[in-house]
């Protein structure tokens, strides 16, 4: 099937979170299904930030939620610190919840409007019964100060009395309060303007250093993703196209889709010529009946017959860069077939 394989995964001992052959289908009526995520694999080392990019509808949020087991993936493994979350039940799964947190795009509507900011930030500690009331109060003050919100104002005020950027700070405080191992950030800065975006990105870096966090950072702005990520994974229509460190991936993309994404970025420089030659034409095909073989083939300028028949597997490019394409833009080193299966 486009973009499967696990050649790019590291040794389990080197990673904190490992997603293997993740599949998420949604029922679409009349026996049909939406193939939202199909055989996606990636891993994240402790302290790393993995950026997840791709067009709207390619399955980024679904992947993020599947890691959280909300809902559980159709198939595949999500291993956190050696434990496969997909095999856990009831109480056992509940106990892992404080270790995984999520931050969403719309900061204002993701916070309960009827509670004070203090209560919102403290809530996870109450739910998981962490600490004594006094310890909780101290912790709330600590994280609020860390994100730059005055605890006194937070004690009285409700979310709508704060700006969008401040609400995103509050979401971050709430997410770090349980001292999670991993935070999944789903488009946390997409609704903010550039100046507030810069403040939040800097804050996330500070929080990472301070609380030793590992991040999955979902976004469609490639410059933002490059700024915050140690590795970037490119998805298309539920499949992985390419993964690697952003400096290599952006200067020498190996997948035609990565190149098209990069060509589409508007640069804040009037002298930069627009790369209209590599702009994508057409629309995303339906995930209910995705193209056979490589799912990108209906829009790929390099597609050949084989692309309709055989799904490309992940192959090593150089360093930590891997690509799933039959005709990659960079030379790949052959990996024995047995290893990719």
């Amino acid at each position: 099937m486009a973009g499967s394989g696990t050649a790019h995964l590291r040794q389990p001992s080197e990673t904190l979170l490992r997603i293997q052959n993740l599949v998420v289908d949604f029922p679409a009526g009349r026996g049909k299904k939406v193939s939202a995520v199909s055989n996606v694999s990636f891993d994240i080392a402790s302290g790393e930030t993995l950026g997840l990019v791709g067009e709207s509808g390619c399955g980024k949020s679904t992947t993020g939620k599947a890691i959280m087991q909300l809902p559980r993936p159709t198939r595949g493994e999500v291993t956190l610190d050696g434990t496969d979350l997909c095999s856990l039940r009831g109480e056992q799964l509940r106990n892992t919840r404080p270790r995984l947190q999520m931050i969403f795009q719309d900061p204002i509507s993701s916070l309960n409007p009827r509670r004070t900011v203090m209560q919102i930030v403290e809530e996870p500690l109450n739910i998981w019964k962490i600490g004594t009331p006094e310890e909780r109060r101290l912790k709330v003050n600590e994280v609020l100060s860390a994100v730059g919100i005055d605890p006194e104002a937070a004690a009285e005020r409700k979310p709508h009395e704060f700006s969008g950027g401040q609400c995103q700070r509050i979401s971050i405080a709430r997410a770090v309060i349980t001292e999670p191992s991993v935070i999944i950030c789903d488009e946390p800065v997409s609704a903010l303007d550039v100046s507030v975006q810069a403040q939040i990105l800097n804050l996330l870096e500070d929080m990472k250093a301070r609380y030793g966090l590992t991040l999955v950072f979902i976004a469609h702005d490639l410059a933002v993703v490059k700024n915050i990520s140690d590795r970037v994974a490119v998805m298309y229509l539920g499949k992985m196209c390419e993964i690697g460190n952003p400096d290599a991936l952006y200067s020498a993309p190996a997948h035609p889709y990565t190149r098209a994404l990069l060509a589409a970025i508007p640069l804040p420089d009037p002298n930069a010529s627009l790369d209209t030659e590599h702009h994508l034409e057409g629309d995303l095909p339906s995930p209910i009946s995705p193209p056979s073989g490589c799912r990108f083939r209906t829009r790929c300028p390099l597609a050949q017959d084989i692309c309709a028949q055989v799904e490309p597997q992940m192959q090593h490019v150089t360093g930590d860069q891997y690509v799933a394409c039959h005709f990659p833009l960079q030379a790949v080193s052959e990996v024995p077939v047995a290893l990719t299966q």
Binding site: E55, S56, G57, G148, I149, D150, S163, G164, G165, Q166, R169, L192, D193, V194, S195, V196, Q197, A198, Q199, L201, N202, E205, D206, A209, R210, H220, D221, L222, A223, V224, K226, N227, I228, S229, D230, N245, P246, D247, Y250, A260, L261, L262, A263, A264, I265, P266, L267, P268, D269, P270, N271, A272, L274, T276, H279, L280, E281, G282, D283, L284
Partner: protein, 391 residues
């Protein structure tokens, strides 16, 4: 790029030499009555636009970009709103028009593309009918002519299978397709002036590029003037002939695009640029966030509106408001600042801050514990006087 599709049956207006400017706006002030007092959303904006040209309007959220477009188009709320100033469209003053006169103008002469394509389209009406409706109203087309033209328009905005899509409802289309339908609706009657208010903010980069390419192509073909509103300097850099930067309801810098980027004068424009993550920077490069937040438009600060956040602020900035004036070296470049980038005062501040930074960071090379640098230690733009928690 694909072949351009001429659209049959549509007026393709052409410019006449010596004709008056397409749009001339003088000293627009728009105020809203709120429970906290009078809020000045647009505060004395003047601008002009020729046919075939694109003016980019950029600025932070709340700087007045949308209210400015609505003030020009006559789309302001009726109650609690106060507007003054002149809007001259093809030599005619239009700010005093009544509703039915405005309706003649909208669509026919000027059209608007809104940020959210879902709210701009009627959800319970087939997309084709949303186009034919305006063709029949403004151009008195027959039903079948209108339908042919609508299909041609859908094809021109690159909707696949336009005959079939004519009968689709908005929710049956992707976000990119819906925005193309919105553009088709806006272009239907061949407007001379198009307002595009964040036309691509809700869309992916790939779709954004398609939509902006499409707008540029239609502009060439129809010789439209476009006012492109966005908060993304990247979007306007490649697409606008001229850029106006707004802050707190005023234009604070305006210049032809290339000149604005090469000779930036306003500290605010510099700060906006510096806050953008650059593709050319290595990952984890600290971003130069602008400290503080935009001013309260009910109680604006005394003096320059940017003074509470400006790294180059001097005593005079707290007392007097700078006015938008042409640069002595390039009259087409306007800015409103007493101490523009490149003036002796700003250079002095730059040097002082660089020296402070050196002093502050030097001992840390010896005393090791790795700590994250504060924005002031790393940002290419000197930090503003007060780095507050607010935004």
């Amino acid at each position: 790029m694909s072949v351009q599709t001429p659209i049959s049956g549509l007026p393709t207006p052409s410019g006449t030499p010596g004709a008056p400017k397409l749009l001339e706006v003088r000293d627009i002030v728009t105020r809203f009555t709120t429970d906290r007092g009078s809020l000045t959303a647009v505060n004395g904006v003047s601008l002009s636009l020729e046919r075939g040209r694109t003016l980019g309007v950029v600025g932070e959220s709340g700087s007045g970009k949308s209210v400015l477009s609505r003030s020009i188009m006559g789309l302001l709320p009726r109650s609690n709103t106060e507007r003054s100033g002149q809007v001259i469209f093809e030599g005619k003053e239009i700010s005093g028009l009544n509703d039915s006169e405005y309706r003649e103008l909208w669509g026919d002469e000027m059209a608007m593309i809104f940020q959210d394509p879902m709210t701009a389209l009627n959800p319970v009406m087939k997309v084709g009918l949303q186009i034919t409706e305006s063709l029949r109203f403004h151009l008195n087309m027959s039903k079948s002519d209108a339908k042919d033209t609508a299909v041609a328009l859908l094809k021109a905005v690159k909707i696949p299978e336009p005959e079939k899509r004519f009968s689709s409802y908005p929710h049956e289309m992707s976000g990119g397709m819906r925005q193309r339908v919105v553009i088709a609706v806006a272009l239907a009657c061949g407007p001379k002036l198009l307002f595009a208010d964040e036309p691509t903010t809700a869309l992916d980069v790939t779709v954004q590029a398609q939509i902006l390419d499409l707008l540029a192509e239609q502009q060439r073909e129809r010789y439209m003037g476009i006012i492109l509103v966005t908060h993304d300097l990247g979007v306007v850099a490649g697409r606008a002939d001229e850029i106006a930067v707004m802050y707190a309801g005023q234009i604070v810098e305006q210049a032809p695009t290339a000149l604005l980027f090469s000779e930036m004068k306003m500290p605010y424009t510099e700060a906006l640029m510096a806050a953008i993550p650059k593709l050319t920077d290595a990952s984890h490069t600290r971003l130069a966030a602008i400290g503080g937040r935009p001013p309260d438009l009910v109680n604006p600060p005394k003096g320059c509106a940017f003074s509470p956040r400006c790294p180059y602020v001097q005593p005079r900035c707290h007392e007097e408001s700078p006015t938008l004036t042409p640069s002595p070296t390039a009259p087409e470049h306007l800015f409103a600042c007493f101490y523009p980038i490149g003036s002796p005062e700003t250079e002095e501040v730059r040097l002082r801050i660089a020296a402070q930074r050196l002093m502050a960071t030097a001992p840390e090379f010896v005393a090791a514990p790795a700590k994250t640098p504060t924005p002031a230690e790393q940002s290419p733009v000197p930090a503003p006087p007060e780095q507050t928690e607010g935004m």
